[in-house]
């Protein structure tokens, strides 16, 4: 008999986890950010080809489990909720491993009138709060996507094409994965990000990487001054991705075009086309205030806080156990 029925995390870690949740709620309460809960089940789903939603049925209709609470929260913003935050359990298919569990906890919040840099400032404050019991000096760095590639690889990620990125990969003696799509520029950027840029980030600190290429905008606004970049950012602890945020796209038509483009990509890759969230588009059309938003993977943040090597060390039970 094994002890499989027992929790994955230690009681000590679960107590730290509870304290972190309390400190997050106190942080937002002090700033008048409203805690909300939104539906996990939805008739529409994310179209991002890199994400797969769990599907279920109800009343002869397909329903999907959310991969993030973003769409419902944006409907709240458009309805005049003001600043909101949520601690939600989210679900993604095909992800289980050292840094992944199919369901995980996400802290997501939106701040009206802030751009992505102002939101990064607030994230620093939140994380410093959470880490205050560690009594260590936490270091935050900020670098643009373009600058990071130029510093580490001497290549401009905005101007180079797939062939130049492939050459850069070979020139830097980085292995090339089986199945690489030679002509897919973003795939090369992702690979260099994983193999070279991420590992170059400060090991014991946090790094904000901001202003991603427009082709990887997701739900971010494009820069007014440089259409090659989108105001998307990510936060890394060492090379571990902790958060993804946007200076949010508020243009309904642009959003609709991105959804349809992603669905087209899904079709080309043989993935199922997903039902687009028309209510979100209506909300954007009605008018969503200028804002920035971010989602932090809470389990990963706890891994960093406790020094855990595996996500199972910070959650009560692993999926399937």
């Amino acid at each position: 008999m094994t002890d499989n029925w027992k929790p994955a995390a230690s009681l000590e870690t679960l107590k730290i986890r509870a304290r972190v949740l309390q400190s997050i709620r106190a942080f937002f309460a002090a700033r008048d950010v409203l805690e909300v809960e939104t539906p996990i089940l939805s008739k529409s789903a994310i179209t991002d080809p890199q994400l797969e939603s769990f599907k279920t049925q109800f009343n002869q209709s397909d329903y999907y489990l959310h991969t993030s609470p973003e769409f419902y929260m944006k409907r709240l913003l458009a309805s005049g909720s003001g600043d909101v935050f949520q601690i939600a359990r989210v679900f993604r298919i095909d992800e289980q491993g050292r840094n992944h569990n199919p369901e995980f906890s996400m802290l997501e919040w939106y701040r009206l009138g802030l751009d992505h840099h102002a939101l990064m400032d607030e994230m620093e404050g939140l994380i410093k709060n959470i880490f205050s019991e560690k009594q260590e000096n936490i270091i935050f760095e900020r670098i643009s996507y373009q600058q990071a590639f130029q510093n580490k690889l001497g290549i401009d990620p905005l101007e180079s094409n797939a062939q130049q990125l492939e050459k850069c990969t070979r020139d830097n003696n980085i292995s090339i994965p089986q199945g690489m799509d030679i002509d897919d520029k973003d795939m090369w950027l992702d690979w260099l990000m994983i193999m070279s840029i991420g590992p170059s980030f400060s090991k014991n600190g946090f790094t904000f990487l901001y202003d991603y290429p427009a082709s990887q905008a997701a739900l971010a606004k494009l820069s007014e001054h440089d259409s090659r970049i989108a105001h998307r950012f990510e936060l890394f602890a060492g090379e571990l991705e902790i958060a993804n945020g946007f200076y949010e796209l508020t243009d309904a038509e642009e959003q609709a075009a991105r959804f349809m483009n992603e669905n087209k990509l899904r079709e080309q890759r043989g993935q199922k086309v997903m039902p687009i969230d028309l209510n979100l588009l209506k909300a954007l059309k009605a008018g969503m205030p200028e804002c920035s938003g971010v989602a932090i993977g809470l389990d990963r943040l706890l891994m960093v806080l406790t020094g855990a090597e595996h996500i199972r060390d910070v959650i009560t039970f692993e999926t399937g156990d």
């Binding site: 991002d48 890199q50 095909d94 992800e95 289980q96 491993g97 050292r98 840094n99 992944h100 292995s175 090339i176 994965p177 089986q178 199945g179 690489m180 799509d181 897919d184 973003d186 795939m187 950027l189 992702d190 690979w191 990000m193 994983i194 990887q216 997701a218 990510e234 991705e241 993804n244």
Partner: protein, 189 residues
């Protein structure tokens, strides 16, 4: 031909890479939040014994290696091959020295081992986690060197040399952990 998709990858899965059978030691999904996912895989090549790292775009398929583990009894070694017999079917296979680099020194006749066969040919022989072997040679009694932490070397009947407590004598049967190569206990009759 059978194949596995990267989302079926897990420790112990047997794949055919560049014509060589390999076993997955560790599979890690690396995935930028909004980007392409990749699998970073550590494998052991059964033919060379080497550990290699390979990366795949997630969703790729890789040919499965027709590798099976069979429990077989060791019969004898004729100096060139090690002969094993399936106790159920009485089928015999001959394993070359290369399949017993790690395990040869732990096994004696009738020992039940796990033989990993690739298209019917033995690739690797794994001894049981614990074996019981008699001491063939060791310094007598307690005369050992205390500077070595109260242990002395003993050569076992299968050829392995292990560190044993000073009181162990020639002819005694010991229980040994083949994974760590460490003495566990004496076996009482």
């Amino acid at each position: 031909m059978a194949s596995y998709s990267t989302n079926e990858f897990k420790g112990g899965l047997k794949l055919l890479l560049d014509g060589d059978p390999c076993s997955i030691i560790e599979n890690e999904l690396v995935k930028p939040g909004k980007g392409q996912a990749f699998n970073r895989v550590k494998l052991r090549n059964f033919k060379t014994g080497r550990v290699l790292e390979k990366t795949f775009k997630s969703g790729e398929s890789v040919e499965a290696a027709d590798v099976v583990d069979v429990d077989m009894e060791f019969s004898y070694n004729d100096g060139e091959f090690w002969y094993f017999m399936d106790p159920n079917t009485f089928e015999q296979v001959a394993a070359p020295d290369s399949a017993l680099v790690e395990s040869g020194k732990w096994i004696k006749a009738q020992e039940l081992c796990t033989v990993t066969l690739w298209d019917g040919v033995p690739l690797v022989v794994t001894p049981p986690n614990f074996v019981e072997l008699a001491v063939a040679e060791t310094d007598p009694g307690l005369k050992g060197d205390t500077a070595q932490g109260g242990t002395k070397p003993a050569t076992l009947e299968s050829g392995a040399v292990v560190k044993v407590p000073l009181f162990i004598e020639i002819g005694e049967v010991l229980k040994v952990d083949t994974r760590s190569g460490e003495y566990v206990s004496r076996v009482k009759d």
